[in-house]
Symmetry: C2
Subunit: 281 residues, 2 copies
């Protein structure tokens, strides 16, 4: 009944699990210089963006991921003015960053311009802040931008990457985290998508280790549901140059507008660590 | 690639989504007086129990569901001695209930004895406390047992039901909640599985309404990931005859042993309400 014509299916081979969404039609397909891009209209999840066969986002449930990639990090910094997004070509993180009035300059650096152009066409709600004068879109290698940045250039770095394979594997490495550490100001905060707590426990532990080794004073994962990602459960790992991972501007967080998942209670709750993640690692 | 021979697939028709697990072999299939029961050995999730085509549990991820159905409720009662489980024939809730030393009498009332017999055979770890002298297994109609119970018979009632269709629909109704209210002591706590926050928001809201109408002083959902249930995100709704939904014996919760998901931090975190559930409902 799950036929390839009427359903898009992503198989997680190692865990023998698959997630499928029923399709109405294919809206677009192309191969850019970097990856295969497909866009579908689904029956129950709005539009669907697929990169190299992996579900990147749907209209219906991307709000959880994007809000959790942005607001905990920005409310963990005392006054975030300069924000760098590595990856994030769909512009969903950028939109959330620009909800913060303190932000003066937000750079999005995705190597593949086609992701952004397709997002403008098929996910216009994610791109509604792209013409904000504070927004700066660059289509180039994010690693190089971080390596070449002057020390202390950014208050927050958001690593909205694909899975740690191919080009994106560099974004999970200790040398890259050291470059981020240098590019951040004294109170700088880094946040990176860090895969599934159920499937990628070792990767999550190694990221915390790499972040600590890079000099960050604290690093801890934030957990949240994400229906259309493998296992339906996802994480972002937050690291700070100074201070405790769980400290944040709670009173300010309570005033945020426009979010559909994030609030101050969710911020605190996302740091709660299930017993199996405490014990092992 | 998701063929019916090598994969078990559950389709969520209304939302146009499906979840599949890769199979090694079918271990058992039968039709009882109440339902179709199937057991499979999967590649990545251990054994899989399917009732009427719906995934009930896998060896790998049932711990989250069972711990969240039991420990928040038992730590919300000052001293739970008498516990009633409606449904729960796989015995996973029963095992968690019996981790609590205060419990003197735990009744499990599932209408279908075959669920328990298959669980003993294919999920023996869930049944490891079935011979505890405090455990009492009954195979009969749970609604009738509650209706016929003397007032104040139980400290905690756990409703570990299937989806609200067919026979199980009664377990989500206001009359049944009134019967539970009567059967509970003055400080009684009820908890019921309440489906997916992403897919069943209206059902969750109506359950809170029905529980309040039945006389409970407070009712609130607990949210948790559940990889193999529709949307990968699930809920249990907790109601109390007296006191606030979020109060619990936190110091006692910190001493619990043997859990893999639940701890006191997770208890607090599970009550955090995403913005979209606050606004609507």
């Amino acid at each position: 009944m799950i036929d390839a014509e009427n359903w898009f299916t992503e198989v997680e081979e190692k865990n023998g699990a698959a997630m499928s969404l029923r399709l109405r039609r294919r809206l677009h397909a192309e191969t850019s210089a970097y990856q295969r891009l497909e866009v579908y209209e689904t029956d129950g999840f709005g539009n669907l963006l697929v990169l190299d066969g992996c579900i990147m986002l749907t209209s219906r449930d991307n709000f959880i991921y994007h809000e959790m990639m942005v607001h905990p990090a920005l409310f963990s910094h005392p006054r975030p003015r300069r924000v760098l997004i590595i990856g994030g070509g769909d512009c969903g993180c950028l939109r959330e960053v620009l909800r913060h009035d303190s932000v003066e300059h937000a750079e999005q650096v995705d190597i593949d311009e086609r992701v952004t152009r397709l997002s403008e066409q098929f996910f216009p709600e994610l791109c509604e802040s792209n013409s904000d004068p504070r927004a700066h879109l660059h289509f180039e290698d994010g690693v190089r931008r971080v390596e070449e940045a002057a020390a202390g250039s950014y208050d927050v770095i958001i690593i909205d990457s694909t899975d740690p394979v191919g080009q994106a594997a560099r974004l999970f490495s200790a040398p890259f985290y050291r470059a981020c550490y240098q590019a951040l100001g004294d109170e700088g905060v880094l946040v990176a998508q860090s895969e599934s707590p159920l499937y990628h426990q070792q990767l999550m532990a190694s990221m915390v280790g790499n972040l600590n080794a890079a000099g960050f004073a604290a690093a801890a994962p934030l957990l949240f549901p994400q229906c259309t990602y493998p296992s339906g459960w996802w994480s972002a790992t937050l690291a700070r140059r100074a201070g405790a991972a769980r400290e944040f501007r709670e009173a300010d967080a309570q005033t945020i507008r426009g979010t559909r998942y994030y609030n101050a209670d969710i911020h605190r709750a996302a740091f709660a660590t299930p017993q199996f993640l405490r014990a092992g690692g």
